[in-house]
Amino acid sequence: QILVFLFQLDRLRLFVGLPLDAVSDRNSVNHARAIGAGLKALKLLGVEGVELPVWWGVVENEMGKYDWSGYLAVAEMVQKAGLKLHVSLCFHASSQPRIPLPKWVTKIGESQSSIFFADRSGQHYQQCLSLAVDDLAVLDGKTPVQVYQGFCESFKSTFSPFMGSTITGISMGLGPDGELRYPSHHKPAKSGTITGVGEFQCYDTNMLNLLKQYAEANGNPLWGLGGPHDAPTYDQAPNSNSFFKDHGGSWESPYGDFFLSWYSSELVSHGNRLLSLASSIFGDTEVNVYGKVPLMHSWYKTRAHPSELTAGFYNTASRNGYEAVAEMFARNSCKIILPGMDLSDEHQPHDALSSPESLLAQIRTTCNKHRVEVAGQNLASGAPGGLEQIKKNMLGENPIDLFTYQRMGAHFFSPEHFPSFTEFVRSLSQPELHPDDLPSDEAEATESVQTSSDPNIHLQTA
């Protein structure tokens, strides 16, 4: 009697991001045919699904009125292609390609700039709303959280036929680039360049109010008048002023601790507001809710970790700032998306004292501790050694089970890139073993018999 065992490993789930402007501001699908061909190609490659950025500025052109038609069309294409869909709800704007916030929001911002973050020099960051207005009725009588809620609910009811079947995951936009952070670096870090420390973003009226209240409540009213006076500016190195100095920097002073605790806890509270909203809305579906946490890896090798501090993560050589973050995600049963899994230390400029790998490891360890699942993303396709690094992260000792590769477009399908991506995907799906390395037939048969009690192995007799 010959037995045949058919079983399959649950493969790691690989997603590919669709172009940021897959749906244009007129709600039509951009490059529909290219996307169609791309979806087919991905399906044939064995990719599990695609990620679709859904923009606030495209859908809600008038407050409370939602036009989902473009995105519905994409969802149908994805469904037809037999792929899964991960939706990223984007409550921020994009500059490249240009996808602004809803016009009515921008208009409000013109007369009321305090809905945006501001830095020490008073410059406003207009790509997303300040977290300080989350619960303030600044949007024509509604709070941003209420507006986000309306958006999410409309999304849920409109896309209900896809929920749980085609749509398997939703990322809640949490800030600049959708990430849980302050817009401390106006320019995203480019690989190969040294990023400055960034700036604290606590100077809009509402942030300053919160700071003032907090300072007074803590009995230090004089500390509530503004942010640190001795922090460097955006592009400067940590040592160019005294706040982030490795030794004797103000960050280690009681004032520093006071300010950083407040600054970081505001960010975590903001994250909590939005994720609890998302999990209450989507909790009854089979869709997983995610939030994205940035990988602020510059200056990680200094004691102060300035880039993380200005971004709102109170993580230093002596304090794990991701505990509070992971705990907040755990509380809301949400998963974390970590970008930058394509970055390796060796490709960072030496002087940047950066360590994406160590930071990644730290965050992942913290998440494990809080049992928060981590999904991966890359920062940019084409980073040197990026695919190898991704593979390492995906298949290493502590494998992640979902990875979103960014992003479909001209470069993605170019002859310079696509063949290496194909090879990458195939190398992921093909077990590392050469057929010759597998046990011989006899040995395998015994092995299979031993495990045949496992209900997941399909057993067939011929």
């Binding site: 399959q8 290219a34 064995g46 290496s420």
Partner: protein, 933 residues
Amino acid sequence: NPTLLFRPKAKVLLKLPRSLDCSRNRKLPLSRGSCLCSFNPRRTIHVVRASSSETALIGNFDISSSDDILYKDIFPVKRIEKVEGKFFIRLDRSKDQHDWQLTVGCSLPGKWILHWGVSYLGDSGSEWDQPPKGMRPPGSIPIKDYAIETPLKKLSEGDIFHEVKIDFNPISEIAAIHFVLKDEETGAWYQHRGMDFKVPLVDYLEDDGNIVGAKRGFGRLNFAFFPKTLGAVTGQYRIMSQVAYFLVIYRIPSEPTLGDVGALQQFSNVLLKSEASHADSQNNSIESKDSKNKNRCLEGFYEEQSIVKEVSVGNLVSVAVRKSPETGKVIVCLETDIPGDVVVHWGVCRDDAKIWEIPAAPYPPETTVFKNKALRTLLQPKATGNRSGALFTLDEEHFGFLFVLKLDDNTWLKFKEDDFYVPLLGISSVPGQYGQSDSTSEEISSKSYTDGIINEIRNLVSGLSSEKSQKTKKKEVQESILQEIEQLAAEAYSIFRSSITTVPEEVVSETETTKPAVKISSGTGTGFEILCQGFNWESHKSGRWYMELKEKASEISSLGFTVIWLPPPTESVSPEGYMPKDLYNLNSRYGTIDELKELVKSLHEVGMKVLGDVVLNHRCAHFKNQNGVWNIFGGRLNWDDRAVVADDPHFQGRGNKSSGDNFHAAPNIDHSQEFVRKDLKEWLGWLREEIGYDGWRLDFVRGFWGGYVKDYLEASGPYFAVGEYWDSLSYTYGEMDHNQDSHRQRIVDWINATNGTAGAFDVTTKGILHSALERCEYWRLSDQKGKPPGVVGWWPSRAVTFIENHDTGSTQGHWRFPGGKEMQGYAYILTHPGTPAVFYDHIFSHHRSEIASLISVRNRNGIHCRSLVKIVKAERDVYAAIIDEKVAMKIGPGYYEPPSGSQRWSLALEGRDYKGKARPGDYWSQLANVEGK
């Protein structure tokens, strides 16, 4: 978490029906490793061709001569034969006892090459260096600056081993000899534990795990089992179970070549060295002490290892069916040249579902019943030759005869993934129907290919262990799926790329800097354009061409075309549109102006740019002048006879003399007149605005000065423009001259006059291709300077290459491309620089898929109008070129292979000469894209 790994998914279910099918239909015990062999699909039939046994087989089959054969077919099959052999490494003193000698030998047949280098004392890492000259055996070839390739030779005919001997002086600075073995025939590499073999000549070297011979006391074999970790390797060679020394890399595209690895290693070493230099200077004293301890005591050793090479062998299975005149029964005669015992596992079926049944007796000798589901018959050796066969006598009502071949317990031979099938019923009506399998198998493959493609990929990519032994046959399907993926990617790429426009840089700042990603000029477009001529000479006949073409818009675009040339749109005296009258009346025999707009819109939607065919040279008049000559125009451009050139007496123009040649059938327009130019510029601007044309195909530009064209193009700002400058090539006594420089010079002069704002059809190349292909004079395809002989050799970015258009071909056939040679023509223009144009009639013909593949190769490899051509061969019967060091192409019956060496080439496309009977050996072109460096 191991339980996670076995979570069942729908994917598992996908696989079940297949297996069930197998067990129901095939009546085969499902056993792992059951199918090493596969039917050899058409694409690779040339492998079989190598053996001349086909004719022998047919000739010797008694079935082939008889006239009453109802059906006959020969199935080429490919199976893997294992050849075992030995490989040894020996280190010993040479005869004079002074020098030492390293000998590497291999007993397997093959074209063996030792790829080797040395490392010197003090080298860190695993860098290779070129060995000193004295060490290199005769016949060695240096590979870059770090390796040598030396062929292994048999010392005499009777020898079993191919050998190579390297002599060296043990007191040299050489620390170790490194090598890998390469089989040139298959391109396979032998490595040692995934690294090179390393024979240390001093014993202080650190063991990287790849040292051959023990560190101390050579001769004591000291190998540990090393788990093989090169996952992606699909071996053509198998490693004997216990002696797991060898890893062999099959030529996989994108796997770095050895050369690349070497280069990388060198690079990393440079880095290492610079970092280590500080440490070195501090530890100098210790270092020198250490070096005194280096043990130079060499001891000889000899090691022998078993290896197995899998050679694919082509065989044939021949089946003939005839009717016995006496009994009325059907006799199936099966023969094969597969050596050894061959069992036919067979049955019959009642209908198309091909469900196996056992027919009524009698059965041939040596037949057993297998589980009441099938029969097994051992083929009987034939008296002559190494063949075996059997005769099966069947009742005539059976629908078909099904079989698979069983070579041994684990080796089954099937028809692709399926049973061999021989039709029995109905064939009598078509007596003498031969060679069916070729066409049917093609059909089956393409159908199942599209139907099952998604399912297949699951099995293929995942590499399930239960399927591991089927890898060989999966490979074919896998490749075709990869090709499909590549085509889709190329399509997506071309659309995404064409829409890259502006890239705002800054995030906060209000001034957004923009930079165009692609430089577009009207002479070239993006430089990556592929043009489709979207009509032929008959297109006007239906009266609704615009609407018909609209239906095909996405199809044309999906083939990879970026630009389409539409027929002349204006009111015209001749239905084809080339005798324009009222330029502002765009209702023509091709459709109305609204239909034209609709068509242009659809073409834009699918990402194509649209060229309007504008006839600027001449225009038909509305009215006669006082002499009764037609030279007064009406409509919006109501010019009088001042708009007509003066030097054509037929039309009595009052303008200036023509600035070019005259077209005698209609009044030639005098472009030197300011008002004419102003009106024409306005008209072109209107066409751009109103219709949405992106550019122009300019008719008969020989008729007027190119400087005016420049003026028109600058005013209308087209995305792409191409002019028709067509005159005759140079001939001497009826034979085309090799040198067509004067012909292409005239075209280049015209382009130059337009200041490069327009390209021109490369008539020169078309003409030369005619002679080269038709007369088998491929030498014509290189000019005296070794460059392409047409316009494309001189000004590639402005050459629009083509092989046919509505005038030369179609129903006019003024200068038709040699019949049957079209694909060679396209293989040339679609792989070469210039902007290729494909004629409508060829797109919608049997050439379509090959043209699509060529376009896909072009796009995949980023070949553009300025790509560099290196002509490798231009001989009587073969032309070969390498373009941008990425694509190698060959046309003509002669031989050419892309160079071996550090580049690894994989076959991208192959086609046959369609003229006459297709012979398997008659490939017209072989393209390869290099995937290595």
